[in-house]
Amino acid sequence: MTVKWILISTPLLLVAGLAVALLLNQKLPGMNGFRTLLYVPAVLSGVAVTVLWLMLLNGEAGAVNQLLRAVGWRNPPNWFEDTFWAMPALAIMSLWGVGGGAVIFLAGLQNIPPHLYEAASIDGAGPVAKFRHITLPMLSPTLFFVVLNLVIDGLLVFGPIFVISGGAYTGGPNDSLLFYMLYLYRKGFLEGQLGYATALAWILTVIGAVLVWLTLKFERRFVFYESDAPA
């Protein structure tokens, strides 16, 4: 379940975060205001945010499903009460906090020297070419950092699931949200098997280390550092 979640959440939040950051990076008035607004969910308590989305995504009468019915979807999903839809619901909830990653991307974007774009314009590059050949390579260290963080965060999700399931005895509907940390908590603190839980923690560490190692390997191939560039 945790792996599935990481596979869903990492690319989703990565692309969304980058898209939002690109929007915010436009040199137009009022951008600081938008940036402030979009970052708001990232400072809020995870528990409070989860409670709010539990209400909004309520299957019977939640505001989201009201909207879906209004646009003609007769039987909108039951979200957090449905084995299949629980994870997409979680994804929608984390999209709400996309501003957190976007701010880091924004900092990366603003560090790209403008003369690169100017030179490309003179050479006749269009916006797509500029994005592909300047923005992406120059942003790759930031991308790498964000991917690493998203993977680690994905491994460690706990609070939201705990709230959604109303305690660690179940992991969402039919254990469809039984994430690693929740299982660890259940074993260690509800069933009193501290040794077992510690073993789980070590396995998690090894998984984390392997993932970080893989990302680092990936980094060597794809991440471009300006200081390494041939003069």
């Binding site: 929007l23 400072v43 995870g46 900092a107 950092f145």
Partner: protein
Amino acid sequence: MSVAQPLERSALSDTRRRRRLPPGRVAHAALVYSLLGLLGLFILLPVGWMLTAALKPDTAPVFTYPPEWFPTRYWNWDTFVRVLTDPDDPYLRYSLNTAFLVLVNVTGAVISNSLIAYAFARLRFRGRNVLFGVLLATMLLPGPVLLIPQFLVFFHLGWFDTYLPLTVPAFLGNAFFIFLLRQYMRTIPRELDEAARIDGASHWAVYRHIILPLCAPALTVVAVFTFLGVWNDFFGPLLYLNDPESYTVAVALATKVSRIGTQWNTLMAANLIAIVPPLLVYFAAQKRLIGGIASVGIRG
């Protein structure tokens, strides 16, 4: 690495704004604004819905068709008063508990991390670099591995169900904050402390009267991060607190939501109580905070 860099760019956009925009730019701007407007709605509507629900009286349905995104009909502020003072589930109490934890943690974090960072930035002693390396290595050790040993240590110290496990660690430093502060202190010219040393100032005086005041921006970042971290922390209080009297807002909220028969309007009011303090702090410290996050991001 300075902490509040990105804001200087607004000066740049000011000069561009005065130039008349060609039609292509106008269409582009319209597109950007409408997309951002939609995103803004996506962020704002849930919060508005929450306020609307909290302001409804017990009798009014929370789930209406069509959904009410902003409060128009009901303004029952007394829901908040009830949630704060309800003898069975007093959020005023929880807020004060959390505020107490926040206060102690922020104090501890500012004092301990700045002292340790001062030592790493300014003192020369044998093994300093090794120690700093060890410190940074602790950042790599994942939290879950520490969780159970830490729990057992605190348990055997007899600290279970007290605030000690949630406050004492703040006074022992945090690798990330030490790193942040050390980097910041290294940007302060050494000539300043050397001048003070010649005038007879002790290390303590240099720290207190030169370094600390100049570190104010970085210390703000430490304080705000600590505030947000402690106020929003769920796992720590969940693990160590047993007595409902000592609950923090986050734990109380999680308990409230799983209780059968919870009134939606009071739940949403409690939710808002959990959300407002971080919001206020965020808006007050917004510029420095985002700058701080950005500089942290670049570090990777």
